[in-house]
Structure formats: C-alpha cells, structure tokens
C-alpha cells in the first residue's frame, strides 16, 4: 500500500498518506485545544457583525470579487495593456502571431543548427 502512495522525486519523497495522517493528528490536536477552551460560549449568543450605519439587507452585503487583485493588475498595467491588445479577437492578427512564431523558430532551428 505504501509503495503505491509513495512518489520518489529527484531530491526526496512524497507520501500523501503520511501527509493525511499528519493533518489528522494536527486536526485532533486543534480540537483538543478547542475542547479545553471557554465552555460558556454558545453558538448564536454572540453579537451580530456591525457594519457602520443601519443594518443592511443581506443581498447588499455581497462583495464583488472583480477587483480583489486590483493592486496586482494595476502594478502590471503596462503588461496587461500589451497582452490584452494581443487578445483582440482579430483573426489576421492571430495569423500574424503564427507567422512570427514560425519565423523565429525557423531562424533558431535552421541557422542554430538544430
């Protein structure tokens, strides 16, 4: 069983069953710590989260994820401007990329002696 789960990599070994066992032990340990915690705290007795102002309808609390990585994409704005232009949907441009790739590979492989 162990050999079917074990993968030998160039620098070591990966055994998912051992990993799962370690995770189970860690979860058990976490549960024991939780179990020893404050027992008077019951589910539902805590204060509702307060969002400044009047309580909003549940639907209005929905946060769109469109801009979750705004910082990342803004930092790479120049890259994205270029790459988005590349994906313009124009078939003649797509064909040009093919010819460009063909030309580069032609030079590398024929003149490079591959």
């Amino acid at each position: 069983m162990l050999s079917e789960s074990t993968v030998y990599t160039p620098s070591g070994v990966w055994d998912p069953l051992a990993w799962v066992l370690a995770m189970l032990l860690t979860t058990l340990l976490a549960y024991l710590i939780y179990y020893m915690g404050e027992k008077r705290c019951k589910r539902g007795e805590q204060t509702q989260p307060f969002i400044s102002g009047n309580p909003a309808e549940e639907e209005k609390l929905h946060v769109s994820t469109s801009n979750l990585y705004w910082g990342f994409t803004t930092t790479l704005e120049d890259y994205y401007n270029t790459i988005l232009r590349m994906h313009n949907g124009v078939l003649t441009d797509y064909f040009a990329y093919f010819i460009a790739t063909l030309t580069v590979l032609f030079i590398i492989i024929t003149y490079g002696g591959a």
Binding site: S5, V7, P10, G89
Partner: protein, 520 residues
C-alpha cells in the same frame, strides 16, 4: 480470434460506427440514441484499459491494416512498410486511457446537460467522430494518417464549438477555431509532404530510421513546421488565442473533450520530437524552444486568467497555463537526452510532465463540468452575477474545491504530486525556471479564490432562491472525476509506476519503436 489483438482498430471503429448510426437510430428513439452513444464510449474505454494493461505488461504492438496477420509490418519482398500501421506503446496507451475517461465523462454528462437542446443526433455524431479521431491520432504510426486524424478532430471540434447556434458568439468562436486549425493543418501537411519527398515514406519508424543516416536541411524545415503547427493546435502561447473562445463557447461536456483533443496534439508534438527525430536533432536547442513555449504559456495563461470574469474563459486560460507545465517538464527532459543528466533528473522531468497530462485532464475536465453545472442552474457564466451558491449546490461546491485545489497544486491532491516532480527536476536543471513554475501555481490558486469567493460564498441573492443542486447524472459524472483526482492524489505512486514511467520510457526509446516495424 482474440479480441485484444484487434483492440486497436476496435477502439477507433466502435465510436466511428456509432457516430453514424446514432443519426439513424434517433429517427426511431431518442433514448436508444443516447444508449448507443453511451455504449460506444464505454466499449472503447473498456478496450482501451485492456489494451493499456496488455501493452504495459507485454510491450508495444503494431497493428497492420490489410496484412495477412495484424503483426506483419513488412509485406513479403519489401524492406519498408507500405500499409497503414497503428503502432502502440505505453505512451499511446497512456494517452488513450485519458481520452477514454474524458469521452465517457462527456457522454454521461451530456445525457442530462444537453437534454433540452435540439439536433442531439448531430451532437452525438460529432462527439463520437471527435473521440474516434483523437484515438486515431494517439495510435497511428503514420504521418499522413496523423494529418488525417488531426483534420477530423479539427472539423468535428469546430462544429461542436459552434453547436449552440442560438449564440452568435459560439458561431464566431467556431469560425475562429476553424481558421486557426486549418492554418495549423496546412503547415502540418506541408511538413509531411516535405518528409515524403525526402524519404519516400510516410511511416514514422521508417523515416526515423532513414534520418539516422542522413539528417538535412529539409528535415530541419519540416521540424519547424511541425513544431509551429502543433504548438498552435495544442494552444501554447503565443498561439493560444483561439483557446478561450473555443473552450468558453463550447457546451461544457465538449470543453472537456477539447482538453483531450489539445492533449492529443501535445502527444503528437512529443512523438515527433522523441520518436521521429530523436537524437539527430540538437536536443539542447529544441529542448529550450519547448521550455520557452512552456514558460510563455504558463505566464500568459495564468495572468490572463486573473482578468477574466467568465468562469469558462478563466478555466480555459488556466488550461493554457497547465499545458506550460507539461512543456516545461518534457522540454527539460529533451535538453538532457544526450547527457548523463537524463538519468540524474531529465527522466524525472519527463515523467512529471507526462504525469501532469493525466492530472490536468481530470482537474480541468472537472472544472468545466462544474462551470456547466453552475450555468445549467443559474444561466450565467459571469461570477460577479452569482453569490452564495455553496448553500444551494453543496456537491458542486465540493467538486469545485477539489478540482481547483488539485490544479493549483495543493497537497494531497494529484496536481501536487506531478508539480512536485516537475519543480524538483527542473530546479536541478535551472532553479529560476522552477521558481517561476511555483509562482504560476500561486497565481492559479489566486484565480480560483476569486471564483470561490465570488460565486460560492457571500449572501443568498433573491434571484437565486430557486437554484438547487445540479441533476443527479451531472453530479455523478463530477463525482467520478473528483474520486479519480482524490484517488490519484492519495496513490500517485501507482500511476507513476504503472503508467507515467512506462510512458516516459517508451517515449525516449526510439530504437524500440523503429524495430517494431522495421525488424518484423
């Protein structure tokens, strides 16, 4: 007659015959049409698995059409093969196994997902033709037949991408895909004709044998044409631009067959590099070309996915990025073919790349099915329009978590095992490449965090109060792929030892491939 002896042709013929019969049977009964389609892919899958087991245990086999016996590759009096030959080794069997699983999943899922559509006879006809042609690409030992099967996959795939004629965008995507596939096929045919003119043969083993004694500029130019045309067909950057349109607009079960179609082109690329050309090429230059294509695919695919709001397009870009990992692993392996580094880490890099093909097929396949289940219930693909689906679609949510975690390379799923092998072996070759690969995995995870947070978490929307779990058949299909992901994740050693390693051994063993045909 031993059925296993004729399995190579049966695997292709059964879906092909079924593809034409479903149109006729549909006139009598729609249920019978569905049953025939399902039986065809099931029979092909069973035969493929039996064939794979036979090849891995007993070695490669050739299947000759029209010969006195299927194994007589050279007709009497001839010193070179003239008949059409299927040549199957562990690599072909590995790829066919993946195709069989994906085609089975596509047909089962379609039974429920597509039932509200009309013209389903044509749909199943095209799906089965596509399946048969993908098998053909993986089995053929002949360059011209490789071109023919490549063309059949292209025509069937484009028609399926444009199947939903109610959507103008689907027709546009189908047209774009058709144009790009045609350009690819045109240059592929040009390469085949150049080699035919040069070597007076179309059989891969015969041309490979000839090249060993005389490798010239014509062969080099043909290699350029093969590399570029197949890079386009497999969606490697910068020739990937048709992929998000095709995958995004095709019905979800077709998207997963398109994954298999792409991987068959990847197989063809590897077959040409390792088996047709082998050691006659400058392996360092060709290896670096493939590594560079892989790096661009990984980076452009993952970063473009970050800007998508349509789940299917996001998955499509992720699929481009995953192709990059396979190219990276195998590219590193090619650079080491003539060096002792092949034993040190090159072989591991190839095994990692090949293992990742299987994992990518399952994970990307499952993600497309999840996207299909969501659109089936919500009618939307844009995750900004969704919220709180985890409360309504618990099984689908679980399948999404499994597939997203696996493709991002989180332990203990299957994607982690193959990526770990790639990271470690590539690190020995060039640490920077390995670091880039790890960073791309982090971006992949970030991509799916957006979808998970946007579509599955959050409050319930009034418009989605009627939403419920996907139909049972769709859930069952997704469960099948999720179970395979978890099983392979927990027992990666089984797949590496019995499938990926023999496939990698077969791929680099050019001599064995040539001998099977030329020494018969």
């Amino acid at each position: 007659m031993n059925i296993l002896d004729n399995a190579p042709i049966l695997v292709v013929a059964i879906p092909l015959l079924a593809s034409f019969s479903v149109m006729l049977i549909e006139k009598k009964s729609k249920n019978l049409r569905n049953i025939i389609a399902l039986l065809a892919v099931t029979a092909s899958m069973v035969l493929t698995l039996a064939l794979a087991s036979d090849i891995i245990n007993n070695g490669p086999k050739a299947y000759v059409f029209g010969a006195e016996a299927y194994y007589i590759t050279l007709p009497s009096g001839y010193s070179f093969p003239v008949r059409i030959i299927f040549e199957l080794d562990a690599m072909s069997a590995y790829m066919a196994t993946i195709t069989s699983i994906l085609s089975f999943a596509a047909v089962v899922y379609s039974l429920s997902y597509m039932k509200h559509y009309t013209s389903l006879g044509r749909y199943y006809t095209l799906l089965l033709i596509l399946t048969a042609a993908i098998y053909g690409m993986e089995f053929t030992g002949d360059l011209f037949n490789l071109f023919v099967f490549l063309e059949i996959t292209s025509i069937a795939a484009c028609a399926l991408v444009a199947f939903r004629v109610d959507k103008g965008t689907a027709a546009e995507a189908g047209f774009k895909t058709m144009t790009m596939y045609t350009i690819s096929a045109l240059f592929f045919l040009l390469a085949v004709s150049m080699l035919y003119g040069e070597h007076n043969a179309l059989n891969i083993a015969k041309i490979a044998s000839d090249m060993k004694t005389g490798y010239n500029m014509i062969d080099r130019i043909a290699l350029v044409l093969f590399l570029t045309s197949l890079a386009l067909k497999l969606g490697a950057a910068p020739l990937h631009t048709w992929v998000p349109d095709a995958y995004g607009e095709a019905p979800s079960p077709i998207s997963i067959i398109l994954v298999s179609n792409t991987q068959a082109s990847l197989y063809a690329l590897f077959r040409i590099c390792f088996t047709l050309y082998g050691l006659v090429i400058n392996t360092v230059i060709i290896g670096w070309v493939i590594i560079f294509l892989g790096l661009m695919s990984m980076f452009i695919g993952a970063t473009m996915a970050l800007r998508q709001r349509n789940i299917k397009r996001l998955i499509a870009y992720t699929s481009v990025s995953q192709v990059g990992y396979m190219l990276l692993g195998v590219g590193v392996g090619i650079t080491t073919l003539k060096k002792t580094a092949l034993i040190d880490y090159g072989m591991d890099a190839i095994v990692g790349g090949i293992f990742h093909i299987f994992n990518d097929a399952l994970c990307i396949g499952l993600l497309f099915l999840v996207a299909g289940a969501i659109s089936y219930r919500t009618g939307a693909y844009y995750f900004d329009e969704m919220s709180g689906l985890a409360r309504r679609m618990k099984y689908t949510t679980t399948f999404f978590i499994v597939s997203a975690a696996a493709i991002a390379g989180l332990p203990p799923f299957n994607g982690f095992a193959s990526k770990l092998i790639i990271y470690e072996s590539v690190y020995r070759f060039n640490p920077i490449l390995s670091i880039i690969a790890i960073l791309i995995s982090i971006i992949t995870l970030a991509n799916f965090v957006i979808v998970f947070h946007g579509a599955f978490l959050g409050p319930r929307l009034k418009k989605s109060e009627e939403i419920r779990e996907a139909p049972d058949i769709m859930v069952l299909t997704m469960f099948m792929l999720a179970a395979l992901i978890i099983l392979i994740g927990l027992f990666p050693g089984f797949i590496v030892k019995n499938f990926a390693q023999p496939a990698a051994d077969a791929l680099i063993n050019q001599e064995q491939y040539i001998k099977l045909v030329m020494d018969a």
